[in-house]
């Protein structure tokens, strides 16, 4: 590890939501690390806690939910317990977020120019004209056409792809060191998705922005990530460089996910499937969350495995990593 603190370092993060039925453990012991300029892909199914990990970093967990324990360090600075005023100064300027639904970023009753100028002036002192010019420039850089017109439009006058471009332009206004992107292209069409990924890859490379890309699409992880973390049941079950993880997955869940993709099965034949369904985060016990669906589960799996390092960059949480039972 370099002597400099990593850009983002999360240790044993736990974000829980008390409910009348019990404690909903959305994030239950996540460790991850992002270096400057790196692209980390966080892969998981719905309910695996991948979005909640992103929200936790930005301090966006709504009560009654709260971060119960753990540490989130940004450039060595602890974010958990930081006063809201300091957090506000970081949010949007140093760490930005893009959501799946651009309408979570955009205010439906304000014009695009108003919103962009407001976002700029929140962190930097500049005149209205300067801010307008920067907004114009920012929209051009995300591949928007007829920018002057779009600036005067309201969000509902734009298509889904256009809105997401505006949301991305806003998130990159202050050239943040870290951008958390929560499934920003999932709701978009294939051709629009690739346009947006293209613009984001270009801009992040230009600005040296590190990217945490949250997705459920393993193909996308392979196409754009440096490293990948696979989440299941509120924990990271496997992490490492994308190429290594996807060419030789160590965790049975990663393997099962990959084997169930149509592109890895013979056309027209039954797909290999993971039996059962994802676990509820409610009243999660001590056992390995994947055990009920795992073909290799045995008595050892009643106790959740700790993260084991496979190499300097890879780790896995499984008692039976890499072993495969013959059918």
């Amino acid at each position: 590890m370099s002597p400099n603190p990593p850009l983002l370092r999360i240790r044993d993060l736990r974000t829980h939501f008390p409910t009348p039925e019990g404690v909903f453990k959305a994030v239950d012991g996540v460790d991850l690390q992002v270096e400057a300029g790196q692209v980390l892909v966080l892969v998981g199914e719905s309910g695996s806690g991948k979005s909640m990990t992103g929200f936790s970093v930005l301090g966006l967990i709504e009560p009654p939910g709260r971060i119960v324990s753990g540490s989130i360090q940004y450039k060595g600075q602890e974010l958990i317990g930081m006063p809201e005023s300091q957090l506000r100064a970081l949010r949007g300027r140093d760490i930005a977020m893009v959501f799946q639904d651009p309408m979570m970023t955009l205010n439906p009753v304000l014009r695009i120019d108003t919103q962009m100028i407001e976002a700029l002036q929140a962190h930097e002192t500049m005149s209205h004209a300067q801010a307008l010019a920067r907004s114009h420039d920012a929209l051009e850089r995300v591949g928007m056409t007829s920018v002057a017109e779009r600036l005067k439009a309201y969000p509902h006058e734009l298509s889904g792809g256009m809105r997401q471009r505006v949301a991305i332009a806003i998130s990159l206004l202050h050239r943040p060191a870290l951008l958390i992107a929560d499934e920003p292209t999932t709701a978009l069409d294939v051709t629009i998705q690739s346009q947006i990924i293209f613009e984001m890859q270009k801009l992040c490379a230009q600005n040296g922005t590190a990217l945490v890309w949250i997705t459920h699409d393993l193909g996308l992880a392979d196409a754009m990530g440096d490293s990948v973390c696979v989440m299941y049941g509120g924990r990271i079950v496997e992490s490492g460089p994308v190429r290594e993880v996807l060419s030789a997955p160590a965790h049975p869940y990663t393997r099962g996910l990959m084997d169930s993709l149509p592109s890895r099965n013979v056309r027209g034949q039954r797909l290999q499937q993971i039996a059962g369904m994802p676990p509820s985060a409610l009243n999660r016990g001590q056992d390995c969350a994947f055990a009920p669906r795992c073909p290799q589960a045995d008595r050892a799996c009643q106790i959740s495995p700790a993260a084991t390092a496979l190499s300097a960059t890879r780790s896995v949480r499984c008692h039976h990593a890499f072993t495969k039972v013959s059918p």
């Binding site: 069409d189 294939v190 051709t191 293209f198 193909g219 392979d222 196409a223 993709l261 592109s263 056309r267």
Partner: protein, 335 residues
């Protein structure tokens, strides 16, 4: 297109949606000014045939009219123009009995199982209602019938007294499938039926579709935007763009030898494991609005090879000797 043995076929099908002019527009037209009538040509002169036992994949981006086409074929909405043929008989020429049989024979499975299941009804009512109404079974047999259907789709029959919200997404989709199967259909129109499901559940439901095809001899119209899923399950694929079918061919053919520039662009953009890290290039331009589709070939504003002819004249679907149909003016050698 050959229509010899087609189980279900549409010929020259149009489905337009009109928007009623609002007060200001009515006033304006009353005062003599003209404005455009706001017609969405959701499906624009489409010919499509599905052979018995075939799985036809219908691919396109949002707003291209693929769901509308599916709904017309399932008889849920009426076409504006053109005809739907079932076993070679046009819907206009069917006797009332035949029309009813044709209606029952094509059933639909929707994308979002929660919004397509009545939240206030129990599974036994959701699945068991239609077969009783249509006289396939009598009320006394209902419980056994529903139990056998639930078993067929991989659900525990003991759960039949529960409500939809008590199930997970994958289980709800299975209920939707059981409901469609309850009237013994021959064709299932699956409209993005696995798109809302998680990857691990998606594989389970796709396997169910393939098992049912085998055991019940079903024919499918499988609508999806996911090219990987369509490639896996389909025998033949049709690609739609802004209301028109731009290419149809057998699955091997279309994935190995795509001819239409749009199909090529789509195939290039799917992220596949093993392709490695890469920079995306992207098809330029946005999907045009169906309210104002571009003249000529609808794809020309985004097409890298567009010529003047493409801007003026809409290409027709031309079938090659191998059965590969493409609607493009450009000879494929030029692409």
């Amino acid at each position: 297109m050959t229509s010899q043995a087609a189980l279900i076929e549409v010929r020259h099908l149009h489905k337009y949606f009109f928007r009623r002019p609002d007060l200001a527009e009515r006033l304006a037209s009353w005062l003599g000014s003209s404005f455009d009538a706001r017609t969405v040509k959701a499906v624009d002169a489409v010919n499509l045939a599905i052979q018995p036992g075939e799985v036809l994949g219908l691919v396109g981006e949002s707003g291209c009219g693929k769901s509308t086409l599916g709904r017309v074929m399932a008889g849920i909405i009426e076409p504006t123009q053109g005809d739907c043929y079932f076993e070679g008989v046009a819907s206009a020429d069917q006797t009332p009995e035949h029309a009813r049989a044709a209606q029952l024979a094509v059933q639909m499975v929707f994308q979002d199982p929660l919004s397509s299941l009545n939240p206030r009804k129990r599974v036994i009512d959701i699945v068991g209602e239609a077969p009783v109404v249509h006289g396939l079974i009598d009320t006394a047999q209902r419980e056994d019938y529903v139990a056998s259907l639930l078993q067929k789709v991989g659900l525990d029959p003991a759960l039949m007294t529960r409500f939809p919200h008590q199930f997970s997404g994958g289980q709800r989709q299975r209920i939707g499938i059981a409901r469609a199967l309850a009237v013994k259909p021959r064709v299932l129109v699956c409209d993005e039926a696995v798109s809302a499901l998680d990857v691990s559940i998606q594989a389970q439901v796709l396997n169910l579709f393939m098992d049912l095809r085998e055991s019940l001899g079903l024919t499918y119209l499988f609508i999806s935007h996911d090219l990987g899923v369509v490639q896996h399950i389909s025998d033949r694929v049709a690609i739609m763009y802004l209301g028109r079918v731009v290419e149809t061919a057998s699955t091997e053919e279309i994935y190995q030898n795509p001819r239409h520039p749009y199909t090529r662009a789509l195939l290039k953009e799917i992220p596949i494991i093993g392709s490695g890290k890469r920079l995306y290039s992207g098809v330029k331009g946005e999907l045009a609005s169906a309210l104002k589709p571009p003249a000529g070939c609808h794809f020309h504003p985004r097409c890298p090879h567009a010529t003047d002819r493409c801007r003026q004249e809409a290409p027709l679907l031309e079938v090659s000797a191998s059965g590969h149909a493409t609607a493009c003016h450009l000879p494929s050698a030029h692409l």
